[in-house]
């Protein structure tokens, strides 16, 4: 794993026996997560991987504080999570940008809500707009941007609040295969540049292997449970077509259920 100092890795997030059941119409109970326990170390890049409908997004929302678990608990730096907070930046699959705000205003939003003075806001926003490579597009509106660019705004916005944890929920799910590879490369570059604890949810094993220090593979059915873990001890930047990566991919694919 990629720890900058030689000291012991520090526990950042701890999920303890987390379970969650949703009630569907007709009072039907759908258990989505069952007894998930998980530790994430500081500045670790963790990818939660699994086929569609395996509870992985719900797990992320619980860590974000957007869902409250029925049983079990989650701690961040030892403190229980009771709701969302600026210490956790979230990036959504559907971008969730404000259509009537420019790129800059979207990135500044969290800062504005916390009453950060305007000049400081601009400075911070510009730093992250530059980091994601959107300089020159500050005054564009979301509809003027491509899918990949929209998600860069989403990433810049999450970073702007100085979170210590980044939560990404299938952020590249709407992009084509090539743009997706490009964004994976960008994500790895940004993470090397500004290390954070990252939890990244995806159904794409290639993406997981390209990015992760460690992959948590979920069972391919509800209720979601952790099936197994893989440590991806490959040098960065990685190559999607390298022998080592393809071998590990085969191992993971063979261990994944086919969900038709």
């Amino acid at each position: 794993m990629n720890y900058e100092c030689g000291c012991d890795p520090k526990l950042k997030i701890h999920c303890d026996n987390v379970s969650k059941t949703f009630i569907q119409k007709g009072n039907q109970e759908v258990p989505v997560i069952r007894n998930v326990s998980l530790d994430v170390m500081e500045n670790e890049f963790l990818v939660v991987c699994g086929p569609g409908q395996c509870g992985k997004s719900t797990l992320l929302k619980i860590i974000a504080g957007l869902e409250i678990p029925d049983t079990g608990f989650v701690t961040l730096d030892g403190q229980p999570i009771t709701g969302p907070g600026p210490d956790r930046g979230m990036v959504f699959q559907s971008y969730m940008l404000f259509a009537w705000k420019t790129v800059r205003d979207n990135v500044e939003l969290g800062l504005k809500l916390r009453n950060v003075p305007a000049n400081e806001r601009h400075e911070i926003a510009q730093h992250y707009i530059d980091m994601v490579g959107l300089q020159g597009f500050e005054n564009h509106y979301p509809h003027q941007l491509s899918g990949g660019m929209k998600q860069r705004v989403g990433i810049a916005r999450a970073y702007a609040n100085a979170p210590t944890v980044m939560l990404l929920d299938e952020p590249f799910g709407q992009l084509d295969a090539q743009t997706r590879m490009f964004m994976q490369k960008e994500t790895a570059r940004i993470w090397e540049q500004e290390k954070r604890t990252v939890i990244f949810v995806t159904n794409n094993i290639d993406e997981a292997l390209f990015l992760a220090d460690r992959i948590v593979l979920m069972e391919g059915k509800l209720p979601g449970t952790v099936k197994t873990e893989y440590v991806v001890d490959l040098p960065r930047p990685r190559d999607h077509i390298s022998e080592a990566l393809l071998k590990l991919r085969k191992e993971i694919t063979d261990n994944t259920e086919l969900v038709l």
Binding site: I241, L246, T256, V259, L260
Partner: protein, 251 residues
């Protein structure tokens, strides 16, 4: 198919050009597809792959050039041209069986033959058990399989596929790609498969046409002469994947 070099040309595209105002999207494209061949088209993002398909399907008029099927100008009234879109397109008020049979109905295939062909195809892809369900009762991947089955069912002269397995998880994608290869080989259809995913192109195709950036033309043809089922970690497979990747890499 490759071992049979004598396969007649089924599709011939001559000087295909498409412009929108001053913007030339397709620039003088020429190629042929042999009868029963599965040809893949890959190219950099934004190179006009969808415009390409829309021209071939005759959904969109071309600026210049012609598309010939068996030596005749392609005509959707005469020829059977099937199109599978990225997003699954099922009619929600029809059962799976009725959806699979829909193209045949439009083309005036008789009831008995319709049922026979629909049953055969549903059997091949393992949809028989849900033949009487409605689309909202099946999963998204199942819906795409219905669309693929419907497209094959009309015995198309040309079957166009626009990245049908785009964002599915790999396991499911492998399964559906195998299913596609099975349908294609059993029915001997002529297929043009467009994708952004290079590995997928190498996995399914007999031959790959690599496109350039706009104004789009054909950069190179790559023949995939690997036995099936193909092995994704076979060094020869990886070599072809690398070659195609280098031809279009922009990321």
């Amino acid at each position: 198919m490759l071992e049979d070099q004598e396969s007649p040309v089924k599709i011939r595209v001559n000087n295909l050009t498409k412009s929108f105002g001053d913007l030339t999207v397709l620039n003088d494209i020429n190629f042929t597809i042999k009868k029963g061949e599965l040809l893949a088209i890959v190219g950099p993002t934004g190179c006009g792959k969808t415009t390409f398909l829309n021209c071939l399907s005759k959904l969109m008029p071309t600026t210049k050039g012609e598309i010939l099927i068996d030596g005749e100008v392609a005509n959707p009234r005469k020829h059977n041209i099937s199109y599978v879109f990225q997003e699954p397109t099922c009619l929600p008020w029809r059962t799976v069986r009725e959806n699979v049979a829909y193209g045949m109905e439009i083309k005036g295939v008789g009831k008995e033959e319709r049922e026979e062909r629909a049953n055969k195809i549903m059997e091949l892809v393992g949809l028989s058990s849900c033949a009487d369900l409605y689309p909202n009762q099946v999963s998204a991947s199942m819906m795409q399989r219905i669309a693929v089955s419907r497209a094959f069912a009309v015995n198309p002269d040309l079957l166009l596929m626009d990245e049908p397995y785009g964002q599915l998880d790999v396991k499911l994608r492998y399964y559906l790609e195998d299913e596609l290869v099975k349908l294609w080989r059993t029915l001997g259809s002529t297929v043009l498969f467009v994708t952004h995913n290079i590995e997928e192109a190498v996995y399914v195709a007999e031959r790959i046409l690599v496109l350039t950036n706009k104004p789009t033309s054909i950069k190179q043809e790559v023949v995939v002469d690997l036995p099936r089922p193909r092995d994704l970690i076979d060094p020869k497979f990886v070599e072809i994947r690398k070659l195609v990747t280098e031809l279009i890499r922009w990321w």
